[in-house]
């Protein structure tokens, strides 16, 4: 079953720039998809259409069979999004408050909110930081907090926009491991990156974008050979004809 269906999607910004150009895409439920491309290729613009943060100039985006435009709240509940700058995603004054932000917006009662927060915080291993101020967490912990905030809304799809940007090695491992756990739990995972190295070994499907269009789409190992012509650096191991290893090994 396709959880995301995009048909002839175009987006033109207010200054006239074409962000997306008649793009078609279907993503199966439970897939692990990496979307790569250089800066300005339209990756972020694309995923912002999945939960209605941007609306199409032309075309249609459906999540679980329903047009995003028809029911924005449903789309936002089903598609969780982790932004590149984790700090800007933090809205609560404590870890608990931040994770509770989404369920509070869904107008759940206090018991349900508490249950969801406890379960989300447990899932990312931040249960000992409930009363901690989020801005004092490390980079990796902030990313995990952002993930907890998304999980508390119980989404089916989670889109990560450059999840490893400006993280140290332990931070990358923490976040990558968290993404894999979410995938194993049945979530559809979309990872946007221009740095394939860290996630290549786990991707089931690789989509390469350039100038608002999809220029390559397939199994990562099959399409990696000419990927650099589109401004994306191939993983080091692929130069030597070796298998790309996971960062977790």
């Amino acid at each position: 079953m396709d959880i995301i269906e995009i048909e002839k999607l175009s987006h033109r910004f207010s200054d006239g720039t074409l962000g997306l150009d008649r793009l078609n895409l279907k993503i199966q439920a439970g897939a692990f998809v990496v979307i790569a491309g250089p800066n300005g290729s339209g990756k972020t613009t694309l995923i912002r259409h999945l939960n209605g943060l941007l609306l199409p100039t032309e075309g249609c985006v459906k999540v679980a069979g329903v047009s995003v435009q028809k029911d924005l709240m449903r789309a936002r509940r089903l598609v969780g999004m982790m932004f590149q700058d984790a700090d800007s995603q933090i809205v609560g004054e404590t870890v608990y408050q931040d994770v509770a932000f989404g369920p509070e917006n869904l107008r759940l009662d206090h018991d349900q909110i508490h249950e969801r927060v406890a379960s989300a915080v447990d899932a990312v291993g931040l249960q000992d930081f409930m009363e901690q101020r989020p801005h004092l967490l490390s980079g990796g912990e902030k990313r995990r907090l952002a993930i907890a905030g998304i999980l508390a809304m119980e989404p089916r799809v989670i889109a990560f926009d450059e999840p490893f940007a400006s993280l140290d090695y332990p931070g990358v491992k923490q976040v990558l491991s968290q993404i894999l756990t979410l995938h194993q739990a049945g979530h559809t995972i979309l990872v946007i990156t221009h740095d394939l190295e860290k996630v290549f070994a786990h991707a089931q499907r690789l989509i390469v974008m350039q100038k608002g269009k999809i220029v390559r789409d397939g199994v990562p190992a099959d399409i990696v050979s000419d990927i650099e012509t589109f401004g994306v650096r191939a993983p080091c191991a692929s130069y030597l004809g070796m298998e790309v290893r996971s960062w977790l090994n």
Binding site: M81, Q97, P103
Partner: protein, 251 residues
């Protein structure tokens, strides 16, 4: 790790943290009004009370003072203006400019009152979550049918959320400019413009990012607010504050 402005909520277990936000808001208004009308003895009583609260709640006074350095400059200007403009017996006279004794006393009292009100605000923000402020404002405005309580409360909650973010932004911008030797430029207007323009731009950019992040998590005015409940502690605190206010008024 980020260094945070102290003008923001700090989780804690002090009595101040435990009080119901509606009572805290009421105390803030009551004590502010009393301090405006109180004389020297009243201000001494309020200052003693506030000092005890500051110590008990562990407000980081040093960083609070750093945060309020511009406010302190403003107080000095107020004091100077009062000293030079209130007529009375001159303490010091240089040519036609005289610093008067009544001016000094009235300026000092005004500054003292302003410090008390600023400190009250600081303690309130320090011990109260912005979501609680929103809920309390909404609760107080509910009876006024002509005021859109939820919208006003949402705006106040967002302001409380944004002040620390703007202060952090200002500090980062100032540090970046100090790293490029802005201190060599002595013209304060030049420095103000240099810090003001990027600060405004970055604040709007941050506000934009935060708005998108909030929208992505279904933010709206209609959300589950924190449960507000008054305990015996709140009523005891109210009684004490009322007694102190009545005492100050009777002096």
């Amino acid at each position: 790790m980020a260094e945070l402005t102290s003008f923001s909520f700090h989780p804690g277990t002090s009595l101040l943290h435990k009080l119901d936000v509606r009572f805290k808001l009421l105390f803030l208004i009551l004590i502010s009004l009393i301090s405006l009308g109180g004389g020297l003895t009243g201000l001494v009583i309020l200052s003693t009370l506030l000092t005890a609260v500051v110590i008990h709640s562990r407000l980081p006074l040093k960083s609070a003072l750093r945060e309020f350095r511009l406010f302190l400059i403003f107080l000095l200007l107020v004091l100077g203006a009062r000293m030079l403009t209130v007529p009375g017996a001159a303490l010091i006279e240089i040519q036609s400019i005289a610093i008067t004794r009544p001016g000094l006393i009235s300026g000092a009292l005004i500054c003292w009152r302003m410090v008390i009100i600023a400190l009250l605000g600081f303690l309130f923000v320090f011990s109260t979550r912005s979501s609680e402020i929103k809920a309390a404002v909404q609760w107080f405005l509910k009876p006024a049918a002509f005021i859109p309580a939820k919208r006003v409360a949402t705006m106040m909650g967002l302001i409380a959320r944004f002040i620390p973010a703007i202060l952090n932004q200002a500090r980062e911008t100032a540090e970046a400019q100090r790293a490029r030797c802005v201190e060599n430029r002595k013209n304060p207007l030049y420095r103000l413009i240099q810090i003001g323009a990027p600060l405004i731009r970055r604040t709007f950019e941050q506000a934009d990012r935060l708005t998108v992040a909030m929208e992505a998590r279904c933010y709206s005015e209609n959300r589950t607010d924190p449960a507000l409940s008054a305990t015996r502690l709140d009523w005891i605190a109210l009684l004490i504050i009322l007694i102190i206010c009545a005492w100050i008024l009777s002096i």
